[in-house]
Structures are given as C-alpha cells and as structure tokens.
Symmetry: C3
Subunit: 213 residues, 3 copies
C-alpha cells in the first residue's frame, strides 16, 4: 500500500471512530461502550472486506489501528466532558468522510488482490458502508444507508470512478484523490440540500393487520 | 456443482433479490439502497457459509451473481414505477422459495466439502436464513425466523432430508428436488394456514420496570 | 487446548445457549427458533473470532458443540413447559458467566495463535460479547453491551488480566481462573448494585426534527 493510501486509511479510521463515539454519546454509553462502538464503526467494514476476500485482516498485524481508535474515543470523551449539544451534522459529516475514503481504499485493495471490477466496486462499497451499518444496527437505528440521502450511491460512485481511472492508467495518487473527492462531494451535497434519488415505494396492503400481531 | 444445482442457485439468487427489493420498496429506499438490500438478502447467507467453511466466497469468482441481483432490483423498480399496493404475501412467498433452495444447496455444499451431517445441516440452515435475517435486521424488523411460522424448521427439514437421501445414495437430482419441495411445501403451508409450532413462552417478571429504563 | 480450557469452553457454551433460550422464551419463539437463538448466542462470538483470525472455526471439527446447544435448548423448553414467570436476573447471570468465560478463552486462543496483546484482548472481548450482541440485535433490543452496566469493561478486564498473568508466567490454570473470576465478579457486582461507569452523553440538537422524518 502506498504512503498516501496508508495516511488516508488512518484518517478514515479516525473519522469513523469519531462518528462511532458521537453516536455512543447520543445513547449515553459508558466509556468502554464508546470504545467498542468506535471500533465497530472504524474497522467493521474493512474487516468484512478482508474476511470475504480471505486475505489477512488489516488490523491484526498492525496494532496502530486499535491505538488510534482508543485515542479518538478517549479524546472525544475528554473533550466533551459534560453533556453537550452537538449538531447532528457533525456525525453526518464525519460519517461522510469515512464513507468516501473507505469506499475508494476498499476498491483499490480488492483490485490489487485481483478481483474483477464489479466485485471490487462492491467490496469498496462494503468497506465504506458496513462499519456505519453495524454502528446503526447496534444502536437499533435503521442504517443511514437505507435512508434516502444518496449514501450507497456515493460509495459506488467513488469506487467505480477509481476503477475507471485505474483502468485508464491515470497515476494512482490522482485517481485516489479524484475518486474520494467525487464521493465526498456527492454525499455532502446530498446532506446539505437534502437531495435524494426518487424513492422506490410499495404500499403494503396487509401491513396494518400484520403490525398488530 | 452440477448443472441442476447451478440453475437452482441462480433462481434462489433471483427470488431472494426480489424479496430484498420488495422489502426495500416498503421502506422507500433510493434505487441504490434497493440494490444493496437485494444483494444482502441474496448473497448474505451463502457468503456467511463460505466464510465459516473458509472456502472461496462463491460470488467473487463469478460476477454473474452480482449482475443477476442488479437486474432483478432494476426490473423490480421499473416494473413498479408508481407506489403500488402489493400484498405482503408476495414477499413471504419469494422468501420461502429462497429459503428452501438455499437450505438444500448450502447443505450440499457443506457435505461436499467434507462437513459432518449435523454441521452440514446447520450450514444449510444458515445459507437459507441468514440473508433474510440480515435484510430484516437492516430494516429494524424482528427477523421472520423469530416469528412463529415454521421458518428455521422448514430449512432444517430440507437440509436434513437431503443429507438422509444423500446417505441412502438416492440419485442427487432426485434428492435435491425432494428436499427443496419438502421445505417449500412446509413453509408455504405454514404461511397459508398460519400454522405454528407451539411457542415457548416465558413471562418476564421484571420486564416492566426494565423497559422503563 | 488444555483440559481445563476445554471444560470451561463447554460450560460457556451451555450458559450462553441457556441465555439465548431464555431470551427466545421472552419473545415466544417456536422450538427451532429457540435452537437458532441459542446457537447464535453460544457460538456467534467464537465464530467471529476464528473467522477474523482465519483459523478453522472451532465447532466445525467437533459436533459436540452443536449437540450441547441442542440439548440445552431442549431441556430449557421441557423444563419450562407452561409459560412461567422467570426473573430477568436469570438471563443476566447466565449471560455474565458466558461473558467472563469466553473473554478469557478468546484472549488465550488469540495469544496462542501469536496475536499481539492489544489484538488478543480485543479478540477476547469480541468472543465474549459478540454472541450476546447478535442475540440482542436479532430480538431487536439494544445490546446489553450498549447499556451502562460495565459490560465491555468486564470482558476487557478479564482478557487484559489474563494477558498480564500470562506475561508474568503465572501457571496457566491459575491465570485462567483468576481472570475469569475477576471479569465475573465485576459484571455480577455491576448487575447487583446497578453500578455503571459515568455515561458519556451528547444531547442531540436536531434529533427532534430528524426523528419525525
């Protein structure tokens, strides 16, 4: 993995750990619960990717990832000592950074291991969305990815653009930066303007009776 | 894998992808969210099986699976353009087909990799139920498997019958068809007549106070 | 694995299977649903550990684990024939035993496979908490680990104490017993006196509007 990718990966770990810690604060967890939720969010997606690709899981060989998560969770707790009012947008924005970074990094890793392009884009999307999905599922919230604000879409754009630029033999540094920026801008724009793709809606005929069961 | 198994597998992917797309429509996801939920439902169980058996994950080597999911999700969205009233039974029936197919295919794969019979039946059940469980958990719904309508039971029947017929050296084609039909008929009958096994019920003494916390 | 570890592992399987069955009874599942929830609780954490460490999954080679789960679930159902009032504390205590046992066993396994200490402690915690987390997520309950009663904390204490005693070359039997007891006592004390670490709380500014969406 190139130097650039390594630092971007670390940055992704920090922002996702932060988003996990912020979510933990909203549910008033104890400090170790905060660390667990930070860790699940930060390394859940990459762990799933590596397990499915059956390549050694990235954080086993390098404890720096765990230390970064611990430090991020600790600093978040220390910095926000008393209950504070923090705009929900902080959580959304740190999540968006992690999503964009990990979608591209995951696609790159899958391609470098020889995966076909559609498989690599899926692995990238999984790297980007799975950590946040686990975080939301653990907090009993319907995952962000299932809401209407262009979430999976941004991850797929980032991964697919990277695969395309890679295929066109654009220098890797440029390809990575462009792909991350495209995913990030799309996701932030969707948050800011509350843009959504048109929803696919089914009205469930029997739902009322079923829900009473 | 035999020709028959291959086509049944593809059919299972399609019906589970459909059940994921229908669920997505009930929660009004955006088009890429529909694709994600279809994919999780269709390949979640088999992925879990292959990861636990530590054999290469089936959809990595063959992108046809991903294309099938994409096509199924796209066709579902196109076919149901405006919000429609779709009976919940559609979702239940497509889910039942996927359950029966994957329970038997999963058992077969585990046996062919040398697993003991009880382990193989468990792997089959997991292949059949895990995709739908992930779908339901992501939508914040208690999974079908935890309701009372003979769900895990049908998957175990299918897998165990296949293992038995396989042990009796019944020709594989016949064993597969019989096992799938048995699981499917049992599950559809349970849906149709709302048959359940007697529930195992504990009344929780302290639940009221706890729930208030 | 030493004789002692083997029997403690079996005991952990039984108490976690029991906690899964008790939870199943509270949600009135059918008998096979009870078995599934028992199995997920009992082997979910260890399965995740082995998959991430990419070592053969422990229950594949030894069907005794599945038989134990089946027997525990069956005995629970038979013993509690009619709906009964069972104090919620039963569930919490069996869960605490499983947590303490598996946290230490998981740490030991990771260390013996050559993992670094922080990684091993994390793998131990995962072994201890993941089964219960899966159980709670499937029942659509916010996992115990996310409540404030020193849950992850107890698992980390057990694993870290084991790693320390192991480093100090304390005989393995003594190290295991001490580490398990420390985690168990801490968790039971937290349940009994409702002790919690101070919660980390964020008040979410926009949550009201968001929740209405």
């Amino acid at each position: 993995m190139s130097e650039l990718l390594y630092w971007l990966d670390m940055f992704g770990i920090i922002v996702f750990a932060l988003s996990g810690a912020l979510m933990a604060g909203r549910y008033q967890l104890d400090p170790f619960g905060v660390v667990v939720l930070s860790a699940v969010t930060a390394i859940g997606g990459g762990t799933m990717r590596d397990v499915i690709l059956q390549t050694p899981v990235f954080w086993l060989a390098n404890p720096v990832y765990l230390y970064l998560i611990l430090a991020t969770a600790a600093l978040t707790i220390i910095f926000i000592r008393s209950p504070r009012r923090i705009p929900k947008r902080f959580l959304l924005v740190s999540d968006a950074f992690g999503l964009a970074l990990f979608a591209v990094i995951g696609t790159e890793k899958a391609l470098s291991l020889g995966a076909a392009v559609p498989v690599a884009v899926v692995m990238g999307m999984m790297t980007g969305v799975a950590g946040g999905m686990l975080r939301d599922v653990l907090c009993n919230v319907i995952p962000m990815i299932l809401r209407q604000e262009i979430y999976a879409t941004a991850a797929i754009l980032g991964g697919a653009l990277y695969a395309l630029l890679n295929y066109l033999e654009v220098p890797q540094h440029i390809a990575i930066i462009l792909a991350i920026l495209s995913a990030l801008v799309l996701r932030l724009a969707a948050i800011y303007w509350r843009v959504s793709l048109p929803a696919f809606a089914i009205i469930d005929v029997e739902s009322k009776e079923k829900d009473l069961k």
